[in-house]
């Protein structure tokens, strides 16, 4: 009989190995079809008509000219918006469906909007603009905390609004045909997409077919059907033709999700020994439409005895907030780690020593200490480290910076069917999605491990809502969810098979196991019957079992858990005569419990580092206060790091005792949290002054150096 518990280290055949992702070859060769690539016969192109104003009253919408353009087949207008307020540039008002993309664009341009401009507000960095009642969280006694401190340091820090900038923008192809709706959306949420049509469309959920085989990035911005999802269905219904609506880059950057900014005034008190005694933070910021939640400060150091966190939201006429890879943690990390590192520098304490010391104030001191040590060894900390600003006489200064982070990552509810066919073939069906993280590959690995088969023997079907439902891919919850549902299903299916085989072999199922492609007496590998032979005993039948991950239960059984730690150290160079920051090296040490696929886990971390370096050095959403428009809704000024910009990246995953035995934990988000903080600390270490706000562009670096009197 097979057990659900994960195999011990020596018994793992496939789990933890470095199998390349299944989606690699199809993506490289172009056979992978993203939503953007789906073309249906007779398909129309939909182009959105959006608000040119940051704030205005929409008086009327005139579609007559647009509708008359050759090729234009239908124009949908959000009638509820007419007479109402538009609140940001890019807000969706209407959509034109046409035979060609060009006609749709021309049609959209010709939809006449009558607008009455209202005053707008797009600045997100000035606390004087905040409104509403501030949030307030206190712990301990601040006055005592600061009174007992030997060093008190106060500083201002900030991190800009960025967007998700998914390489594949949001959108979908929708086809309503014979009373059924087929949709190919770019979504992180296959199983809970159809229900989002709600009352907007009169097609029962069992006639809605969602299909997402490949998608080009979501990062938290693609859980919802979105207005364009509803519009696509309505236009398809109206015209009887499939409709493709994909946002263009400009729209993607303006309306598909903001990561809120965070600006803060932070006071830190340290004891002589470097231990943090008090943190007082006032934080403000905005993500545009949507509420502002104060990022956690002090981040990670949750056991600082005396703290206060005041949060003030700023309302701006910019697109909406959406979850961005570890919501609020990158902000919390940047603001906290900068402030405490400044305090350490004021005390004259080495950063590594400081973080080691203050690991005591975290939820997992041992993990952080171990990770700090490993990260320091990999980057050569002791050889390279120097006191802040003590970095030689040339114009190019080198420095190191540290940050630590945490995240939950417990597997979500998930269901998976595993089928063993009488010809020995094995397949899985699951309503999950592969965001490019390697979900398919990991499911196949878990099932192959369970059945004692080679990885190639398992076929995985996912990305359709007709399959057993599985959670949205957010919060780093996918790997835990799908691994357990797949494991349970495969275990149950195997146990059924063992029963059949036991009968034939004249033994009992509790004496059998599957390994290396055979079913045999326990610990008698190589004996018994081949997998194929065993399956042929099923006769005309196959076995299908459904595995369910109930997170609470699975956690109790030790299959999954939550709560990880990670440490990152950045090594940068700062040219103090030009303000240019260059990445030399970045080390990430990360814990995520039992690792299903080492290569894919590392890939997640590499990707997170690149994304993190991008928001640390280049990326920000810039709005013009006078016109209210986004000034950089393009890939030129909305800068992303290229391969030459990221330096040498090194990833170390924690494994073995104390890690593997925690079960599986998600990894998508945690490594994206620390890069901004680590890089900011490295820049401060290199050039001797804190550049208060991310991204660390040369204009900000020069301004900080000039303020510090380091250059004229």
């Amino acid at each position: 009989m097979a057990k659900v518990a994960w195999p011990e280290k020596g018994d793992r055949k496939i789990l933890g190995s470095r199998i390349p992702r299944q989606d690699g070859p199809p993506k490289v060769t172009g056979t992978a079809k993203y939503s953007y690539d789906i073309n249906r016969p007779d398909m129309l192109w939909g182009k959105l008509v959006t608000s040119p104003n940051a704030h205005a009253e929409l008086i009327s919408v005139d579609t007559s000219v647009a509708a008359a353009i050759p090729g234009v087949k239908a124009v949908w207008v959000d009638e509820e918006l007419v007479g109402d307020e538009l609140r940001y540039v890019g807000q969706v008002i209407a959509c034109v469906a046409a035979d060609t993309e060009e006609a749709a664009i021309e049609g959209a341009e010709k939809v006449k909007l009558q607008l009455k401009a209202l005053e707008h507000q797009v600045a997100d960095d000035d606390v004087a603009l905040s409104s509403g009642r501030p949030s307030n969280k206190e712990q301990g006694n601040l006055d005592e905390g600061f009174a007992g401190a030997d060093v008190v340091v106060e500083g201002e820090y900030g991190i800009a609004v960025i967007t998700h900038c998914c390489l594949e923008p949001h959108g979908q192809v929708t086809e309503v045909k014979d009373g059924e709706l087929h949709v190919w959306p770019s979504t992180q949420n296959v199983s809970r997409y159809a229900n989002q049509f709600g009352d907007e469309i009169e097609i029962p959920q069992n006639k809605i077919h969602v299909d997402t085989q490949y998608m080009g990035g979501g990062f938290g911005s693609k859980f919802n059907i979105d207005k364009w999802g509803i519009i696509g269905a309505k236009l398809s219904q109206e015209t009887g033709r499939p409709v493709k609506i994909m946002l263009d880059r400009k729209e993607e950057l303006m309306i598909a999700g903001n990561r809120p900014s965070g600006f803060a005034k932070i006071k830190v008190g340290l004891q002589k020994d470097g231990l943090i005694s008090a943190v007082d933070a006032e934080v403000w910021g905005s993500g545009g439409q949507g509420a502002f939640r104060a990022p956690p400060i002090p981040y990670v150091f949750t056991k600082v005895p005396n703290t206060r966190l005041v949060g003030k939201g700023i309302r701006t006429n910019r697109g909406g907030v959406r979850a961005w890879r570890a919501p609020n943690h990158p902000q919390g990390a940047l603001l906290t780690m900068s402030a405490v590192d400044d305090a350490a520098a004021a005390l004259g304490m080495d950063s590594l020593e400081f973080f080691m010391k203050n690991a005591a104030l975290t939820d997992r001191p041992e993990v952080y200490r171990e990770e700090l040590q490993i990260a320091a060894n990999i980057i050569g900390y002791r050889q390279k480290a120097h006191a802040r600003g003590d970095s030689g006489s040339g114009p190019v200064k080198r420095g190191l910076g540290i940050s630590m982070h945490t995240w939950g990552g417990r597997g979500h509810p998930s269901e998976c069917d595993v089928t063993i066919n009488s010809d020995g073939s094995v397949e899985a069906k699951i309503g999950s999605q592969d965001l490019g993280t390697g979900t398919r590959t990991c499911i196949a690995m878990v099932i192959a491990e369970t059945l004692g088969l080679p990885y190639e023997a398992v076929t995985v079907h996912l990305g359709r809502n007709s399959y057993p439902q599985s959670g949205a891919s957010g919060g780093s919850t996918t790997i835990g969810g799908i691994s357990v549902s797949a494991r349970r299903a495969a275990t149950d299916a195997l146990n059924d098979l063992l029963k059949t085989v036991a009968g034939r072999l004249g033994t009992t199922d509790d004496k059998l196991e599957a390994s290396a492609g055979r079913i045999h007496q326990i610990e008698k590998a190589g004996g018994g019957v081949s997998w194929r032979e065993a399956c042929s005993m099923l006769g005309p039948n196959s076995i299908t079992k459904r595995g369910i991950n109930n997170p609470g239960e699975s956690q109790q059984e030790g299959l999954i858990s939550a709560g990880v730690g990670g440490v990152q150290i950045a090594d940068v160079s700062v040219d103090v005569e030009t303000g240019i920051v260059t990445m030399n090296e970045m080390v990430a040490v990360q814990d995520c419990g039992l690792i299903v696929n080492m290569k894919l886990a590392e890939s997640q971390v590499y990707g997170a580092l690149i994304m993190g370096i991008t928001y640390a050095l280049y990326e920000e959403s810039i709005y013009d206060s006078k016109t209210g428009i986004m000034l950089n809704p393009d890939m030129e000024f909305y800068r992303l790091a290229g391969i030459k910009d990221v330096g040498d990246l090194k990833v170390h995953m924690m494994t073995g005792k104390g890690y593997d035995d925690r079960g599986i934990i998600g990894i998508g988000e945690p490594p994206a949290i620390s890069p901004g903080a680590a890089i900011s600390n490295a820049v401060a270490n290199a050039c001797g002054v804190r550049v208060p706000s991310l991204p660390l562009t040369p204009e900000r670096v020069i301004a900080a150096l000039q303020k510090g009197g380091d250059i004229a």
């Binding site: 060009e102 040219d575 005569e577 030009t578 303000g579 013009d624 000024f637 020069i702």
Partner: protein, 325 residues
């Protein structure tokens, strides 16, 4: 992008005759790396594109005794790969390498680089080249972090986007232009650029039906170099550049020319810096002083004072690189 007619004549005269006499009616198409973006952004809506790709003589590099003659349609790749250019004109090679993108370097042409439209984000977002709203400059009161610190007294506040131009000007290049009825004229490279003061003119001092046909580069044994202040390593324009060309006899600089890029509506000759350099002994402290001189007279807008520091550094480093060459 609006519908347009596309023509690709094989004769230069014919090409110019196919161009309209007013800007925007027609556009010259070279490699298209900038023009196609402009069409998509709707900042030009021509009725006709005149491609130069079928005109063979525009694609030649001719190395003569006293000059190198570079056809307008020579790609940036072919220019940077030319042995004479590599040996005698490193300032140009640096400017091309810095673009960082193989695709742009392979497709982009020399004249296209010189005539590329500014990157000003108000311009690219549809507010016009002068970026004015009811006569008020959006740039002056808005976000001008990437705008001009020199030559910004008038209405034009964008920066010229070409990195080749400052190097060509420092190297005393001349530019041949073919206009209506095949009429030819030749100008100094610096005279190709202007800061428009009305909504009609462009930033190149061409008529709408004129075509740049050739760049003539004198082979004067000038030591030369460019230094670019860049943030990203690819797919981006620099913040500021300096190109320096000079002769050094017994340690003393002569015939020196310092030209700045990306800091003014035109490539910006740093006259005071060139004057300070001429007749002086080239060393590190002179380089520092020349950098300071180049930055003097800058008039930063509200958000771009940091560029002054970049200018000083770029000039200093370009000069030291040229001197060591």
């Amino acid at each position: 992008m609006n519908p347009f007619e596309y023509v690709a004549p094989s004769d230069l005269r014919e090409a110019s005759s196919l161009l309209g006499s007013r800007w925007g009616q027609t556009e010259v198409l070279a490699g298209g790396t900038d023009l196609v973006t402009s069409l998509k952004q709707g900042i030009t809506k021509p009725k006709r594109l005149v491609s130069l790709k079928n005109i063979p003589e525009l694609k030649r590099i001719q190395v003569k005794k006293n000059t190198v003659r570079i056809g307008a349609m020579v790609t940036l790749r072919d220019l940077a790969a030319n042995a004479t250019i590599q040996e005698e004109f490193p300032a140009l090679v640096t400017a091309i390498d810095g673009i960082g993108s193989s695709q742009i370097i392979n497709a982009g042409t020399v004249a296209g680089d010189l005539c590329q439209r500014p990157r000003c984000w108000y311009f690219r977002n549809g507010f016009g080249l002068l970026a004015e709203d009811n006569g008020d400059s959006l740039v002056r009161t808005g976000d001008n972090r990437y705008h001009a610190i020199f030559g910004n007294d008038g209405r034009a506040l964008f920066v010229n986007a070409s990195s080749l131009a400052p190097a060509l000007i420092a190297l005393q290049a001349e530019i041949s232009i073919v206009g209506a009825a095949g009429r030819e004229r030749e100008i100094n490279a610096g005279d190709l650029f202007q800061a428009p003061n009305n909504g009609e003119d462009r930033e190149v001092a061409l008529r709408a039906n004129e075509i740049v046909s050739e760049i003539k580069l004198p082979r004067e044994n000038m030591q030369n170099a460019s230094y670019e202040v860049r943030h990203r390593h690819g797919l981006d324009w620099p913040y500021a550049t300096a190109s320096v060309a000079l002769k050094i006899r017994s340690g003393i600089a002569r015939e020196a020319s310092v030209v700045l890029g990306h800091v003014a509506p035109t490539p910006w000759p740093a006259v005071a810096a060139s004057n300070l350099l001429n007749g002086a002994r080239v060393d590190a402290s002179l380089a520092e002083a020349v950098g300071e001189a180049a930055a003097r007279g800058a008039k930063p807008l509200s958000g771009n004072a940091y560029k002054v520091q970049m200018v000083k550094t770029a000039v200093k480093r370009a000069l030291l690189a040229a001197a060591n060459a």
